[in-house]
Symmetry: C2
């Protein structure tokens, strides 16, 4: 199975991308809703959580891991790769690759959680591949709670998005990376506030394309992955709010399973 | 020592109240910043967390516990009292008592997190003591992230507060309980949006007054509490954002200590 985890609900945008790009592949998802969000927490704590989440998914049949959370990808990828001998995919690199294909002027904006932006990972990865690029980053910590509340079209959300994007807009970026798996859910508002000429890079699509290419080049692993169109959704805490927002992302009711608390506390 | 815990930072308003009301008493605080917030999580998860937090404080010298979090108080008080043989104070009852002294018409509003409001505890406790009261409740889930971001005077915060309070305002409440320890930090905005004639009940002051009265009536316990003007602040995750907001509440830099992860994971 393809194991996918996130701090909570945002990673379901990646699940949706993988389901659309790799139809039929079995998926096991873990959303760490008992400890969400990750984006306001320290690297040390996020690393601890990611190691536990990976172990949980391996114990539930995962043969490869997709870290469907930019905060986790930004601070914990090396620790997870060092600790587990399986392919580990993260959402930062595919978004950077897509962004570098899209940008014309090389003036790039990145939005993400406080932890993702503080890690400096997008800037570092972009400049490694395109040293003359200009990268402007803006943390947008309130967007995750706004999405989780389902405030997707409210005027307050539009005002907050506009305020966050303002410093990027004045820099005249031509490409904007949505550096958080929650943000694709606000894509329309983000697009209207940053302006039509700016290419928007959605990491949930970027990662799915990269996982597909990886499996095409690794038929031995690919053959071990069951393709019975089965998806299991584990969470560390089941709440009605999660059920509701999850339905909005995946497009149908999910049969959520409670992950055993002992694995996490 | 007086042990005080909260899901994160909001409980510091209670610490401030207790420091002002019981000067010199030694305090040990635990803020569960690695798992914050509690208000969006299920009762089962919040109860697990509160039992762990209480054990941690007892292991660090607490002789009594103040649950400085309305969500914890609403769903976990019975579980904590059943599990530990020490005095356990919660923030709901003192706020209800103060509210019943203040209300003239008996039309009462309560704001809190989703979990606190869903528990129905304020309504139940008010109606037990004043069956003819009318109680209107409104969950305000975005106020906690707004406070934690330090957006205390921004126009978006004012708009969101106004939107949340609107259904209470049209009911012509005369008393409003701030049913979350984060909300006293937004007291000025809340007061201006709900109107001058509405009495605002701040549970951080209510609980401090009740703890003081309890200790006056329990001199044997009181004598065991050290009064060397010492306060220790433990958190499960140290972040720069916490340091900054904490300083705003307590009025000085706090010397934060990392609580051992093993106690919580």
């Amino acid at each position: 199975m393809i194991g996918i985890f996130d701090s909570g609900i945002g990673g379901l945008t990646v699940v949706k991308g993988i389901m659309d790009t790799l139809p039929g592949y079995d998926i096991v998802y873990f959303g760490d809703t008992a400890r969400t969000p990750y984006g306001t927490k320290s690297s040390r704590t996020v690393i601890d959580y990611c190691l536990q989440n990976t172990e949980f998914l391996l114990n539930n049949g995962a043969k490869m891991i997709v870290m469907a959370c930019n905060t986790a990808s930004s601070v914990a990828t090396e620790a997870v790769r060092a600790s587990f001998d399986i392919p580990v995919y993260e959402v930062v690199t595919p978004a950077v690759d897509l962004c570098l294909e899209a940008t014309k002027k090389g003036i790039i904006g990145v939005i993400g959680t406080r932890a993702t932006i503080a890690s400096g990972i997008y800037e570092r990865k972009i400049l490694e591949k395109k040293p003359q690029a200009k990268v402007y980053c803006a943390p947008c910590p309130l967007l995750v709670p706004l999405v989780e509340e389902g405030w997707l079209k409210k005027p307050e959300t539009k005002m907050i998005v506009k305020k966050y994007l303002h410093p990027l807009k004045v820099r005249q970026i031509d490409t904007l990376i949505l550096g958080c798996t929650h943000y694709p859910i606000l894509k329309n508002i983000i697009a209207s506030k940053i302006g039509k000429r700016v290419a928007i890079i959605d990491s949930s699509i970027a990662i799915a394309t990269q996982v597909k290419a990886f499996l095409e080049h690794n038929p031995v692993l690919d053959e071990t992955l069951p393709k019975t169109n089965t998806a299991r959704f584990f969470v560390s805490d089941i709440t009605p709010q999660f059920q509701k927002t999850a339905k909005g992302i995946i497009g149908k009711n999910l049969d959520l399973e409670q992950a055993e608390a002992a694995a996490f506390f």
